[in-house]
């Protein structure tokens, strides 16, 4: 199977909820190293609502479901994460509007559309040490694969996100985490990237995809 049904997407989101909720404190602690320590709480606040509403929300189409999730982010997620994740889900939903099944090309387009939306929303570019530094190479990797084996795609993107943690660790943040942070940002990973990587790592575990992460943040 290389297409995804509404139920498949719903399940992936449900797993994501568990990951985000379970890591609330950890993600906030990571954000506290160089930021304000609200990333985990902001995200978990929203994903608790998503988890609760998921069984009953509009599932007439993948797009409809994702737009509803975007709206939950808009209502319940504060900080930068609200607009970023809300925009991501909104764009992914628009790219899958009306569809009850999505093929691989659509999936890649959804990721591409989400990251373009996030870039437009927040003005960040690659190398600014944000979750885009995971999403952009993930999208590139997906584009380079044919999608015939979705487990292989998952293993590949999980690896990309894993690598993004270490590759950006020593970057100076250009957006949201400026040079003034000085020692406070040195050697701290970006919590958004760790968030993406943790979600993908959990997906691997859940879907039985063999993947051994490298970053210490994924080996706790």
């Amino acid at each position: 199977m290389s297409t995804l049904t509404i139920a498949d997407v719903e399940q992936a989101i449900d797993i994501t909820c568990d990951t985000v909720i379970r890591n609330e404190k950890y993600f906030s602690d990571l954000d506290g190293l160089a930021g304000d320590g609200d990333f985990g709480t902001s995200l978990a606040t929203g994903f608790k609502v998503i988890k609760a509403d998921l069984p009953t929300i509009d599932k007439s189409a993948v797009g409809a479901m994702l737009l509803k999730i975007s709206m939950i982010c808009s209502k319940h997620v504060g900080g930068s994460s609200g607009p970023i994740w809300g925009t991501g889900f909104m764009r992914a939903g628009m790219a899958s509007k009306g569809m009850t099944e999505i093929d691989y090309a659509t999936l890649v387009a959804m990721v591409g559309s989400a990251l373009e939306g996030i870039m437009a929303r927040g003005g960040a570019k690659r190398g600014d040490k944000t979750l885009l530094d995971a999403l952009i190479p993930i999208h590139e990797t997906m584009q380079a694969m044919d999608g015939s084996d979705l487990k292989a795609v998952l293993a590949a993107v999980a690896g990309v996100a894993d690598k993004a943690i270490d590759e950006t660790r020593n970057l100076v943040a250009h957006r949201g985490r400026a040079s003034q942070v000085g020692e406070r940002s040195a050697n701290t990973p970006d919590p958004g990237i760790v968030g993406i990587a943790t979600i993908l790592n959990d997906w691997c575990k859940h879907y039985g995809v063999d993947f051994v992460p490298n970053a210490p943040e994924l080996n706790r």
């Binding site: 906030s28 506290g32 160089a34 930021g35 304000d36 320590g37 609200d38 709480t41 902001s42 606040t45 709206m71 982010c73 808009s74 209502k75 319940h76 997620v77 504060g78 900080g79 930068s80 609200g82 607009p83 970023i84 809300g86 925009t87 929303r121 927040g122 003005g123 957006r175 949201g176 985490r177 400026a178 040079s179 003034q180 942070v181 000085g182 406070r184």
Partner: protein, 330 residues
């Protein structure tokens, strides 16, 4: 964590409920969206809204009232409000004359208000957005690209609020906000950190003999971490940074604000004001209006910020206009 707080997750709705309970004649709220608005909104006048993270009280929900904001919403402590809260706030305030959306220059706030404005405009609400960035400390910082919006925000709200109250149209109110922002400068210093209730501990460590010069109102690093100095020297540091940035020059009439960051008591604010007034006199400035107190806090951080606004006849009149908020003495 030594704070008056119940479940930290309820801190913001509970303090907002307190503000509403204490001002039932003036304000009403919609706590589903962490929003507070004036009880009576004049449909013929421009509405002004703002909203940002909590922990800066009386900014922003406590700055709602006649002559100030029409409505405001708050996010969790130090986190931008959710997009929907911003959107509902615009909708609740919207008048025929339009809405001026004031946004302090932080990434999270800008994104949330951008989205909310798009949504509101799509529904036919007339609005303009204006970004406030008065902090001279650093060019880029945590949570922002470009200068941060800090206590100077008060003057934007006050002057724009007075203009709106006087019946100015949206472009004119926007122009007032622009004029204030172009002429207002702020820098702050922190002696201690603060504890966001949900975090449960300090947001940064600082030595017993250190201060953070140019700190942000979320504890973001500033220009430098130095040994603590006598009040007069600290005041001079702040004054010089603020004065030279515009620059303010001899003959200027100014509004001068000494803003407490939350943990500094009134007497110390006046020690700072005492020196600032002397420095202003040395520069040849006339302090036409002064403001000493808590206007934009960083929860219970010990520290102050110094703001100066260069006045002209229009701004002086707007600042002197009556206004009313949840902050009262008598």
């Amino acid at each position: 964590m030594k704070k008056f707080v119940n479940d930290p997750a309820n801190f913001v709705p509970e303090f907002m409920a307190g503000v509403l309970a204490a001002n039932a004649d003036l304000l009403e709220g919609n706590l589903e969206f962490q929003m507070i608005k004036r009880k009576t909104i004049d449909a013929s006048k421009v509405a002004i809204v703002q909203g940002s993270g909590s922990g800066h009280e009386p900014a922003h929900v406590m700055a709602v009232g006649p002559g100030m904001l029409t409505a405001a919403c708050q996010g969790p402590v130090f986190a931008a409000p959710p997009v929907d809260a911003c959107y509902e706030t615009i909708k609740a305030a919207a008048t025929d004359a339009g809405v001026l959306v004031l946004v302090n220059n932080y990434q999270g706030d800008r994104m949330a208000w951008d989205m909310a404005c798009e949504m509101a405009e799509a529904e036919g609400i007339k609005l303009k957005q204006f970004i406030i960035n008065d902090d001279v400390a650093v060019q880029d910082s945590l949570y922002t690209v470009g200068r941060r919006g800090v206590a100077g925000n008060f003057f934007v709200m006050k002057a724009a609020g007075a203009a709106a109250e006087a019946g100015a149209d949206l472009d004119a109110v926007y122009a007032v906000a622009e004029k204030v922002n172009a002429n207002v400068r702020t820098m702050g210093v922190a002696l201690t950190s603060c504890i966001p209730p949900q975090k449960g501990d300090v947001i940064f460590d600082i030595g017993d003999d250190e201060m953070e010069v140019g700190v942000g109102i979320h504890g973001e690093p500033g220009r430098e971490r130095t040994k603590i100095k006598p009040a007069d020297d600290i005041t001079k540091l702040l004054y010089d940074a603020v004065q030279s940035d515009l620059p303010f020059s001899s003959g200027d009439r100014v509004a001068l604000m000494v803003n407490g960051l939350g943990g500094t008591p009134p007497a110390e604010l006046y020690v700072v004001y005492n020196k600032a007034a002397k420095l202003a006199a040395e520069t040849g400035l006339t302090i036409a209006r002064n403001y000493v107190g808590e206007y934009c806090t960083a929860i219970e951080m010990a520290g102050v910020s110094l703001t100066m606004l260069k006045l002209d006849a229009e701004l002086e009149e707007l600042l002197a206009a009556p206004a009313e908020t949840a902050c009262r003495i008598f």
